[in-house]
């Protein structure tokens, strides 16, 4: 167990490598109840979020989700978010646990001029994620929803193991999977039903350590590592979340437009390493012996069989790259992100 943003979280249940492989090849179940849930409701909710966030939320159809960001006026990232449109006038905003307070207060401030209400619903929801290629087969028999018809980044109200839930085809692992938002008092029942049903399909519980290696292989950013107030979405290679073509102003528009025009100050790259040693968060990256960047995340990649890392590089980063691993300059290779992409049968 480990302390994380005020929550006690399982870092691993047994072997994090086995948990990682289960999600890649069968399925894993995660308790993600620490994530922040914020409800934005009212006739002006869509327009309010268009102003508050970088995305164009008012055009998202009911039952669909978007990956988006909330930025400071100077373009720095306050948090990355998944937003579900659950009704014409109802959006559920999912924030990182460590940022829920900041997102909540920023949203409250930003919707002030709109006919919309912001409410913290974090303690109203437990979040259980079932992720991996066998996830759909595990969840389907336990729900009244037609999961085969549910698209990636879609969601619907239904029941799981007889308990009311918002079920979405989203996740943070690079695999197919579902996120089940249910009432906290129902969470144990839902978890038990899913683990019992899924055991035959290779489902095992997975902790934060596996979640981190899974998202890293999938090239997904983690707030506090790849994202923060000192970077805009453009540095992280996620400029696509900034929708300049939406009508009206939004917080950060001017600064972000300037950054889009000028180009990012740094760029996020993938690194592979010919060693077992891990290039960890904060380790320096050098080109021809001169420091040119810093590692944001690093871990062993169970899929590739060697360590991987993401790093911010300034300048071209040409020539021989090394990472300083506790005094030793270890050669690394630039590689395209993501490190892993699942094969899509559909």
């Amino acid at each position: 167990m480990t302390s994380f943003a005020g929550w006690q979280m399982p870092l691993r249940y047994a072997s994090e490598t086995a948990e990682h492989q289960a999600v890649r090849h069968a399925a894993g179940i995660f308790d993600l109840s620490h994530m922040g849930e914020i409800l934005v409701t009212g006739p002006g909710a869509g327009a309010a979020l268009d102003y508050a966030l970088t995305g164009h939320l008012s055009i998202v159809p009911v039952g669909r989700a978007r990956y988006t960001m909330i930025c400071a006026p100077d373009g720095g990232v306050l948090d990355d978010l998944v937003v579900y449109r659950r009704g014409e006038q109802e959006f559920l905003v999912i924030a990182n646990a460590s940022n829920t307070g900041v997102v909540l207060s920023s949203l409250r401030e930003r919707v002030a001029g709109y006919d919309a209400t912001v409410a913290d619903a974090t303690s109203d929801y437990a979040l259980i994620a079932v992720q991996g290629p066998t996830a759909a087969g595990i969840v389907a028999p336990l729900t009244d929803l037609d999961l085969a018809a549910m698209k990636y980044y879609a969601g619907a109200f239904g029941e799981v193991a007889g308990r009311a839930a918002w079920v979405a085809r989203t996740g943070y692992t690079g695999e197919d999977g579902f996120e089940i938002y249910c009432r906290p008092e129902d969470a144990e029942h839902v978890w038990t039903a899913l683990t019992a049903d899924g055991a035959g399909a290779g489902l095992i519980p997975a902790g934060l350590a596996a979640r981190d290696t899974l998202r890293l292989e999938a090239g997904m950013p983690l707030y506090g590592n790849e994202l923060g107030l000192d970077v805009t979405p453009f540095e992280a290679g996620l400029g696509r979340v900034v929708k300049f073509d939406k009508p009206g102003d939004f917080v950060g528009r001017e600064a972000l437009a300037a950054r889009a025009e000028a180009g990012p100050e740094r760029r996020l790259v993938g690194l592979t390493i010919d060693s077992r040693r891990i290039a960890r968060h904060g380790y320096p990256v050098s080109a021809e012996g001169r420091t040119c960047g810093v590692v944001t995340s690093g871990a062993p990649s169970p899929t590739l069989g060697s360590p991987i890392a993401m790093a911010y590089l300034e300048g071209p980063g040409t020539g021989e790259l090394t990472v300083g691993i506790r005094g030793a300059a270890v050669p690394v290779h630039l590689t395209d992100l993501p490190f892993y992409r699942r094969s899509k049968e559909k």
């Binding site: 870092l11 691993r12 072997s15 490598t17 040693r277 891990i278 960890r280």
Partner: protein, 133 residues
């Protein structure tokens, strides 16, 4: 969690097994479980002098890097080279195939290996891990 009765232990979670003046060293099952999957181990070079309580290597797991301390004074005779290719042996079999290095220690006045007097018995070590939660 296993704590074999016939080994000695340190508060830094190493185990020590003496045969004559040759002492084998590894980390405990408790330590391996706390670290999680071990991915890289840096060991002292054969011939190197090690000092009890001083770092002599590193154990790197998915989530952390920890110093490896020598539990005894002496000269490194041999290291477990199989850990280079398969560091997960430390998780799977911490007391057998997951051993880390062997040290030649001096003899005391009785001809027994000169081990630090503050090594813990299995019972004492088990007590320590329990109080650590």
């Amino acid at each position: 969690m296993s704590v074999p009765a016939d080994l000695h232990y340190t508060p830094e979670h190493e185990w020590v097994s003496a045969e004559g003046t040759t002492v084998s060293v590894g980390i405990t099952d408790y330590a391996a479980q706390q670290l999680g999957d071990v991915v890289y181990i840096s060991l002292p070079a054969p011939g190197a002098a090690v000092t009890a309580g001083e770092p002599c290597g590193e154990v790197e797991s998915v989530k952390s890097v920890s110093d490896l301390y020598s539990p005894v004074d002496g000269e490194v005779l041999e290291v477990n080279s199989e850990l280079e290719d398969d560091p997960s042996l430390v998780n799977a079999e911490p007391y057998t195939s997951g051993w880390m290095f062997r040290v030649r220690v001096a003899q005391d006045g009785n001809g027994d290996p000169a081990l630090p007097t503050d090594l813990l018995s299995a019972a004492e070590y088990e007590e320590l891990t329990k109080s650590a939660g």
